[in-house]
Symmetry: C2
């Protein structure tokens, strides 16, 4: 009975006794963050021993190759730790290339006066080297464009920018769960594979096993060709023959055992015929029905299935029982769109609140966005400073603004009036402004960036440009929908109060020319114990673009999927 | 400029001033949890006003129809609140059916001595009724089987069991994020759509737009048939004719403008020919290559794409830069399996730790499982008590045991010896026990339920039954893999130290008969700055089965997907 380790708390105690910096809980090394991200920059740890590991960002030999100076990073924070290795400890040429992984035991010491860092590590022993051949390494030290890095999604998290984005993304995800948990919302996993077609199958990916089944069958039929008509006839002939044998034996009053043996033979030949007949019907290719259409009854889920475009409709079934719920998961669009703002696979946060109206929905959206902004300021400032330095000077001020300023709220009608006024005063838009249009990105950005210079919620949109499930207002012209617009990205959130009145939603579905049948389950939520409820969706990558100031959505998701590309 | 609401903090202050129970942040009502889940059961709130909303669990009229007594539940906690409504406030017959949604304003009062609940609400006004026709409502008050409820996934969250499961599932998800965040792990969203085939395409769902594109084209060609050969010939003839006109005009030295007009005509006829020729090539059906195989170059991602079976390989690219990461997302298996333990879509938690070995991996797995168990005891006891009462008497004791007892750790070889010993002593297994077998569920459950009666980690498995990426031990016979076995479900976690040595992993891939090319990116992680790392996967639904004691995995995920079924 081997117990391979002592419990972590003992390790911690032992570490302190040994004059060492406490290790990470499930590793033998100290995260660089625990050294450098202290208020004193790590200087208070001088004299202590530590094992650290990381990847060399920059390395150089000095003092006639007596030492190597290595800036190493382990991803636990943006900052690097300087490690000094003496030539006697190892082959220094192997340590200095960018990308090399090293683990060293050493002791922390104060660097010479006048250097930027507050602490450095003098190595006592090199424990591990994961070398790099600089001639082959795809990510040399020079600055690489984000576009170039998209061809190396498996290595790009080693760069300062993509690792900062990873930490910011992680922080926003945890902020999301923390916010909704604090407010009593339950996290509901809505399905990824769906048979509810919410926004039109044209833009949905299909999920199927028919193609691979057809390929499997084709291969099998090549190896083992299906019986021909002649094979079937031959098998039939055997059955007739065996049948005749039985008849003859019976007529000849043969022994019971002889007859039984012949009957067994007949049975076997019948089974064999059945198999041959069944195999003779096998057709290569996708199974089709008599009308020539694909027979989805033969697909894995016995019907057409798609990747979800939104968890909203499904999560509504949970809000009508649990009052406050949210989803946070991947969603998909098969749009052939090559812009810097669209992905085929992206993550959405979709809260839904019962006993709530549009104003509650707006309050929730505003509180959530503010919470995320403040969270980044409190928990990710070092990474935000990196983004401000390299990409977008204003990104920290933008977070502060949004975290602290009440959002402006204007009706759609007011928004259109503001835009028309701007046009009168000489502002040029590519898209015409008039009541009834769907606001274009240029209109949204004008409102939030130019007119108000802060987040804006536009609400009560014309019903004709919005979905059937949005609650019809008493004017019968508008619906209780709202969009949250923020500087830099425009629309960040779209939401609405949902139509809870059975007759109204039924007639809205018909009015939009949609069939009722697929929505019967959704109508049940209004038939039985209906409740006022409201919700919204936040595009998670949009939020990261907003926070970081990056321009291309492909750089803020670890593994971007878009037309023609799904690496790894 | 309409600002539809005052900020929530003002609402709270106002509520207290008005002698009201504070409302939910984004709703006008008080969650029942805020009343009932206090240490005093709510009795301290007697005398305060409150607006509550919920769905009637049981309702009855009393005192010659002078009152209705309604037990209502809003999903915020397991307990119901009793609401008493006087006949003067509304049509009582409409309020009492199970499933009815009501919102009432009222005041809290102490119930008569001797009743179970500590507080009840006397209604002053009925604000909203969402009625139910009991003759049609699919979920009557009587106890329904979980199997029956699977046909009503859109309504089943209204039952005590499924809503308790939803709260337990939510708690475990939040515990997961809390644990890994606390330990410095970054949450990484690995892709759902993948072109890396990790465990064999046979069990993967394909993601495609080819079928819907083919259907779209077929429809289009029906409405607008493709040109025939005769149409193409006719178009060619027009081009020849127009060309001749130009030649004739030139020969006849016609005016420049006349010639130019004829050239324009020729150009138009050529364009028209090009279009006709292109359309004549359109073929209905799935696009095929010359060899008859499906032309996936025409698919959305320009190659075959699948739903992920695990985020491990992809997240390894992040651990080799960020040190401690985890994924938590949906994964898929197209297995035609109808058991109570398999789903086609399920959620997995997959942490990955750099600078770590198998013992660190086991420490992490043990700490994580213990953390979740303690979390449920601390945060979900009421729901756990419900599960203990209705389904599995031992479930709370099991959580306590796992939260407090060190997990047993045995090598695979020791485990096989224990099983062989048991066989010698008369224990019967369906599957033969000998070194080299993959442990069957019956073996795993014997170890954890009978032999040790606590969680067991089995490690160092024979290499031939494990994946290529698991680190080869020095004995060259076993790999550094581990499984965590727990009472009730058997295997809860599977993990391993990953093979970080380039030559070893390359030869392991070849040894297993796999092609190297698709793994080149994965090999890059070993080529450039390789690092020791380890990780594991926890089936999230398995954990919920373990916690709740439920028997069927289809009852612990909101929208179960399995062969033939993907409702909603």
């Amino acid at each position: 009975m081997a117990d391979a380790s002592s419990p972590p708390t003992d390790q911690l105690a032992a570490a302190t006794l040994n004059n060492e910096v406490p290790k990470a809980q499930f590793s033998d090394r100290v995260p660089i963050r625990s050294i450098i991200s202290r208020p004193d920059g790590g200087s208070g740890l001088a004299g202590l021993k530590a094992r650290v590991g990381g990847w060399v960002k920059t390395g150089r030999k000095a003092d006639k190759d007596a030492f190597a100076f290595l800036e190493i990073n382990d991803g636990s924070c943006a900052a690097n730790l300087q490690v000094i290795v003496e030539a006697s400890l190892g082959e220094l040429s192997q340590l200095v290339p960018t990308g090399t992984c090293i683990v060293v035991d050493g002791h922390l010491k104060l660097p010479p006066a006048g250097t930027k860092q507050k602490i450095e590590l003098r190595a006592d022993m090199v424990i591990h080297v994961g070398p790099v051949d600089p001639a082959k390494y795809p990510l040399p030290k020079m600055r690489l464009t984000l576009e170039f890095l998209r061809d190396f999604v498996h290595l790009r998290s080693r760069t300062n920018t993509i690792s900062a984005v990873a930490r910011i993304r992680n922080a926003l995800a945890f902020a999301t769960h923390t916010f909704f948990n604090k407010e009593g919302f339950l996290y509901v996993h809505t399905p990824i594979v769906t048979t509810s077609d919410c926004e039109g199958a044209g833009e949905m990916f299909q999920v199927t096993t028919l193609l691979s089944e057809a390929e499997r069958l084709e291969k099998e039929l090549l190896q083992n060709p299906p019986p021909t008509e002649a094979d079937v006839e031959a098998a039939k002939f055997v059955v007739v023959e065996k049948g005749e044998v039985v008849s003859q034996l019976k007529a000849a009053k043969a022994s019971k055992s002889e007859i039984a043996a012949a009957v067994d033979q007949l049975k076997i030949s019948k089974e064999s015929l059945a198999k041959v007949e069944e195999r003779s019907k096998l057709k290569p290719g996708i199974p089709k029905k008599d009308d020539g259409k694909v027979d989805y009854g033969k697909d894995f889920f016995a019907r057409q299935a798609f990747l979800t475009v939104s968890g909203q409709l499904q999560v509504e079934s949970y809000v009508c029982a649990l009052s406050s719920v949210y989803t946070f998961g991947p969603t998909f669009r098969a749009e052939n769109s090559h812009t810097s703002r669209h992905l085929a696979e992206f993550w959405m946060v979709e809260p839904e609140i019962a006993f709530a109206e549009l104003k509650d929905d707006m309050n929730c959206a505003e509180a959530y966005v503010k919470f995320m902004c403040q969270w980044l300021l409190d928990n990710c400032l070092e990474d935000m400073e990196f983004m401000a330095d390299k990409f977008d000077k204003g990104c920290i001020d933008r977070l502060k603004l949004v975290a602290s300023t009440p959002f402006i709220r204007v009706t759609y009608t007011e928004a259109v009036e503001i835009l028309e006024e701007a046009v009168k005063n000489g502002k040029k838009f590519e898209n015409e402004v008039k009541w009834g249009i769907d606001l274009a990105s240029e209109h949204e950005r004008f409102l939030t960036e130019v007119k108000f210079q802060k987040p804006v919620i536009v609400y009560n949109y014309p019903k004709d440009i919005k979905a059937f499930y949005m609650r019809l207002n008493d004017d019968l012209k508008t619906v209780a929908a709202m969009d949250v617009l923020v500087p830099k990205v425009g629309e960040l959130i779209g939401g609405s109060q949902r139509e809870e009145r059975y007759e109204v939603i039924q007639s809205r579905i018909k009015e939009m020319g949609l069939p009722l049948e697929p929505y019967e389950w959704y109508l049940d939520l209004r038939r039985y114990g209906t409740v006022k409820h409201a919700g919204f969706g936040l595009g998670f990558e949009r939020m990261i673009l907003f926070a970081t100031g990056l321009e291309n959505i492909r750089d803020v998701i670890p593994f971007p999927r878009y037309p023609g590309r799904a690496d790894l």
